[in-house]
Symmetry: C2
Subunit: 314 residues, 2 copies
């Protein structure tokens, strides 16, 4: 089926990142499998960070390897640096996502080096891929944390986002991801930024990644759609809350995002109500964590035909 | 201060409508006063329905009367019919809001008469105002429940909404309110409908009223803004959930709506963080009810200057 929009499930990475309780590897895989059965194709399944930094990802290699055995999915991984990328490439991850914070202060605090050094680090990841024949089919994307605001610097200039995006494209990025890392963005801001980033990237796809910390996540999605964005990150049940905002939602809720897109007539390839099984695995495994989301509680509107189902019926 | 947008607090009416536990009159008034202190001017404070139908509004007359004593607010009331309007006018309510469901099935189920009879009933309310000299300054608005979808009929045709709106304008409505009664609407649908209703209404203001039942409430607000809508209903802490969708949000959350609008550079006249006191009165009085909303948990973005505060600084 030809999809209009791509929904990427980043819960196993971004959603779990701050969750203290370790989720067993087999549960993570069961969760991913259940979402794949509902039609989700693209996942960020783990992060290759040292277990001393984030114990939740102590099983990164196993999750990455096991995910590759699930039919029909694209199991991406996050890597904070070249060392993580080396490990990820070795497992055969089809897409490795680096990060360079636009906020220089945030980049320094997050990975303890300058932003320019991070850009050079990303270039080395691309070069490693380019110089290794068996990695020829692997993709390298890059996220730009704080592109829409920073808890340390506050507002982040559009010109700085464009500058970093240009550097990453020059370094050979296969994809650019624009996140609202801390949930600061408003719709007009999103639309304005993406209307500049998307043309800059040309054939290189742009992914929008919103957090719902301040309630504007899906409004920002709508604004991003207007700017021509067709790829969105989300997290099942909105996992990924902020430790400094108790009870706050994390990433936008996958199931609500799918409903929004399907209601807008856009084919996601995902059966929204079939996400319930995956949600039950997740909330069953982590009953102490706040679970968010509306559509699975409320059900579809009477007579609602998702865009994806309309295609199937044609 | 010149406001760009009007935020109407409908929690004391729509938010409480389904709440079984009676909220004492003095608590209702304390809640309204606390929101007024944060800058909210427009309220729908109660509904003149028989106490046998909704016991929560057994104190309608007292709430309406006491609200009139609060400085600087516009205390509207809902009336289901002429009898309710008579009582409301007697208390001196400055604006009385009638209702006519666009879905004929819903109108019949809700008020046990045909839609045409309801339009005629609304006309009689306007005539009562027109024919009573002491009511000359009182306004009569009308809401169109199910304008964006109906649990009984499913999809509701735009042409039917426009037809009913025209009938109500002809009957003398001073304001038209377009609600997504059951949380079915998507942003493009909202924009499409309002782009037709607003020009039809000309100088008569149009209010959008969204429920967040399926998570799209604020995305719908953004779409309504694009269609030129500048008046929005909301409910503090998102009170007003649906009895058929446990845990589902009701009306869009007042405090998150204010944040969205201020972040979009639109002056609401409301200090969003000052809504906390009112929220505490509400959640303290009804601790068993689900309270929603993000901004008061997360706090404003670093360096954020609300549009309203920018005006104050000029």
């Amino acid at each position: 089926m030809q999809k209009d929009v791509q929904v990427r499930e980043v819960g196993p990475r971004d959603g779990l990142q701050l969750v203290k309780q370790f989720m067993p590897t087999e549960t993570k895989i069961a969760w991913i499998k259940a979402e794949a059965e509902a039609g989700v194709v693209d996942f960020e399944v783990t992060s290759f960070v040292p277990p001393s930094v984030i114990p939740q990802f102590a099983d990164a290699r196993d999750v990455a390897t096991e995910s590759l055995k699930i039919d029909g999915i694209n199991a991406m991984v996050l890597v904070p640096n070249l060392k993580g990328a080396e490990m990820a490439f070795e497992t055969g991850s089809p897409k490795v996502n680096g990060i360079v914070s636009v906020s220089k202060t945030h980049n320094k605090a997050n990975v303890r080096r300058t932003r320019d050094d991070s850009v050079e680090g990303f270039r080395k990841i691309v070069e490693l891929r380019n110089n290794t024949p068996e990695y020829a089919n692997l993709k390298v994307g890059c996220g730009l944390p704080t592109a829409l605001g920073c808890t340390l610097e506050g507002n982040v200039a559009e010109s700085e986002v464009l500058k970093v995006a240009e550097q990453l494209l020059d370094a050979g990025a296969d994809e650019i991801m624009i996140p609202d890392t801390v949930g600061y963005a408003s719709p007009s801001q999103v639309r304005s930024l993406l209307k500049q980033v998307i043309p800059l990237c040309g054939d290189i796809p742009v992914v929008a990644h919103f957090h719902d910390t301040r309630g504007l996540g899906l409004a920002n999605v709508y604004a991003a759609l207007e700017a021509g964005c067709t790829r969105f990150d989300a997290s099942l049940a909105g996992f990924g809350g902020c430790p400094f905002a108790p009870g706050a939602t994390g990433n936008i809720v996958t199931e609500d995002l799918v409903f929004l897109l399907e209601a807008e007539g856009l084919k996601t390839g995902i059966d929204v109500m079939a996400l319930r099984k995956a949600r039950e695995i997740l909330t069953g495994a982590l009953p102490e964590e706040a679970a968010h989301g509306a559509i699975l509680k409320a059900g579809l509107p009477k007579g609602f035909v998702p865009a994806t189902a309309q295609v199937a019926a044609e």
